[in-house]
């Protein structure tokens, strides 16, 4: 089985983001960038399927600025076999990303695409589902467990009331939730080896996809900060405040 894992370069999850003064985006100058954490989980799941003998080849793809090549090298150091960078000036919207990925799927013919369920920058939670729609493939979002079965995959998903298991025919799309696995760190020798692994670069504009944004950003702002309240000294004081001041009990 061949697995495709699309990954995104995002502001590191430990960074406290700041809106740019012009309100058109967030500060990225000098800010640490990393692989989207849900995408790390997706890469890890592909590696585990290979270690179980289910997968034979793992291809990783990123769409974005030239520095996204660093993110791809991280995936290669974790153990992916080869990488494709689809270079574009900015990060396209999920619909455009899904269209680009469809072209790559048509070319590379993977049996399974595993994506992070959402990127922690735009929190769109859309690319996997959109790609599944464009390909007319079955999908299992928010996966917490993936198992190969005789005729496809059994995927356990985290849903509102607990969890549920779906059976999917292959080829299929899976999106990774938090508890699917704990991604490995790339060991230094593997980081060195990753430099020699194949990384192909394609210009997004050569793929014939319209990257024009459908959603114009009118403004970005930090939400009004919630004011810290007071510390109370005892349970009795807390109950008194909740009853007589906040009036919520």
């Amino acid at each position: 089985m061949k697995i495709l894992v699309p990954i995104k370069r995002v502001v590191d999850y430990n960074v406290k983001v700041r809106v740019r003064r012009d309100g058109g985006g967030v500060e990225t100058a000098g800010v640490k960038m990393s692989m989207n954490p849900f995408d790390e989980i997706a890469v890890e799941e592909a590696l585990r399927l290979r270690e179980k003998g289910v997968a034979s080849e793992i291809l990783t793809v990123s769409i974005g600025v030239p520095q996204a090549a660093d993110t791809l090298r991280t995936a290669l150091a974790m153990g992916a076999d080869r990488a494709i960078l689809v270079q574009s000036e900015e990060s396209p919207e999920p619909l455009a990303v899904a269209k680009i990925l469809k072209i790559l799927v048509d070319r590379e013919k993977p049996d399974l695409v595993i994506l992070g369920k959402q990127a922690i920058d735009d929190d769109m939670n859309a690319t996997g589902q959109m790609l599944a729609g464009l390909l007319d493939w079955p999908q299992a979002t928010f996966a917490s467990r993936v198992e190969k079965t005789a005729d496809g995959l059994a995927v356990t998903r985290e849903v509102d009331g607990g969890s549920e298991t779906l059976a999917l025919a292959l080829p299929a799309i899976v999106t990774a939730d938090l508890r699917l696995n704990e991604p490995r760190y790339a060991a230094l020798p593997n980081i060195m080896k990753a430099r020699k692994k194949p990384l192909e670069t394609i210009a997004a504009t050569d793929l014939g996809i319209d990257l024009t944004r459908r959603l114009a950003i009118l403004s970005m702002a930090e939400p009004p900060a919630r004011k810290a309240g007071i510390k109370v000294g005892s349970v009795a004081e807390l109950v008194e405040k909740l009853r007589n001041e906040a009036k919520v009990i």
Binding site: K117, G133, R157, A167, A236
Partner: protein
């Protein structure tokens, strides 16, 4: 203008989250709702939906394919109905989040998730970066597909309407995914998204056994029980208890955070609560920066004392 709201009605009832989605759509013109489900539940679900005030028409699709909210048949159905509507709306629940992007791609639309404010028919506010930034977006798509952050909209009433019901013939499609089983957490408590009071626990509860200390307090307050990501990852409680950026987004009248430090991801899920109480032994914990009332100390003493004091 006309909007179609997809309801989560698979169990034969209409949840509060779906009624919040209807409330959000109220400014978008006439509202039809789409109710789907298996042959056993569809009649009850349709009857419940018809009672919601302000609905022009209840449209129903039933069959085994719709019994479990699978995204593939639901998206195909939305695509088939799309020509009748300017907006297609759903609550940002597991089904809405799985289905609407798929339908949007088939309609060549960039869908807009987690909408918390509708400025006008094409302008929407949504959170990004775990709720640390709010972005105002204007869609240039002819049709708009939205999921709604339900905590941002008070639900419409459940009763008072009498909308007509129209049964649809769903499009044929080959099923490539199949429901196998569900492991639902059974609880007598209110749903997290619908609860007026939430008692929530984190790392400070120390174990699944320790977590049980919250139950008498939740019983006393008629509260739902929530948890931080750490508490879920550590196996204290099931995944559907998680409140936060990647869990449930809640905005109850009262949120009592016990032994929760207040990571950004958690705050993203609860900071719109009307009143926040934090109980934590670490007086430097970030949760105190958003709490209206903080109590520093050992929760294993404070929580039972609070329960007793409310008694």
């Amino acid at each position: 203008m006309t909007a179609l709201v997809l309801l989560d009605a698979e169990d034969g009832t209409i949840p509060q989250t779906s009624r919040s989605a209807i409330a959000a759509a109220a400014s978008l013109g006439d509202i039809d709702v789409l109710v789907t489900g298996g042959p056993d539940t569809i009649a009850a679900a349709a009857a419940s939906a018809a009672k919601i005030p302000g609905i022009r028409k209840v449209r129903t699709a039933s069959g085994e394919a719709f019994a479990h909210g699978l995204a593939e048949p639901l998206a195909a159905l939305l695509v088939a109905l799309a020509p009748d509507y300017d907006h297609i709306v759903a609550a940002a629940t597991a089904i809405g989040k799985s289905t609407l992007p798929r339908a949007a791609a088939l309609l060549d639309v960039q869908m807009i998730p987690d909408v918390m404010e509708i400025r006008d028919s094409q302008t929407f506010v949504r959170p990004v970066f775990a709720g640390n930034v709010l972005v105002t977006l204007r869609s240039s798509d002819a049709k708009k597909l939205l999921t709604i952050r339900t905590a941002s909209f008070d639900p419409v009433a459940a009763e008072g309407g009498a909308a007509p019901i129209e049964a649809l013939t769903p499009p044929d499609g080959q099923q490539k995914s199949r429901f196998v089983s569900a492991e639902h957490s059974s609880t007598e408590r209110p749903q997290l998204e619908a609860a007026r009071v939430i008692v929530s626990g984190g790392r400070g509860l120390q174990s699944a056994e320790g977590f049980k200390i919250l139950e008498p307090l939740a019983d006393r307050l008629g509260a739902a029980i929530g948890a931080s990501r750490v508490a879920v990852d550590s196996g204290f409680v099931p995944n559907d208890y998680q409140v936060g950026q990647t869990g449930k987004i809640v905005a109850p009248d009262l949120y009592i955070a016990c032994g929760i430090s207040g990571a950004i991801q958690h705050l993203a899920g609860m900071k719109d609560s009307k009143v926040i109480v934090a109980i934590n032994k670490d007086e430097e914990a970030p949760i105190f920066q958003v709490a209206d009332y903080g109590l520093v100390g050992d929760l294993f003493q404070i929580v039972p004392a609070l329960t007793a004091a409310l008694g």
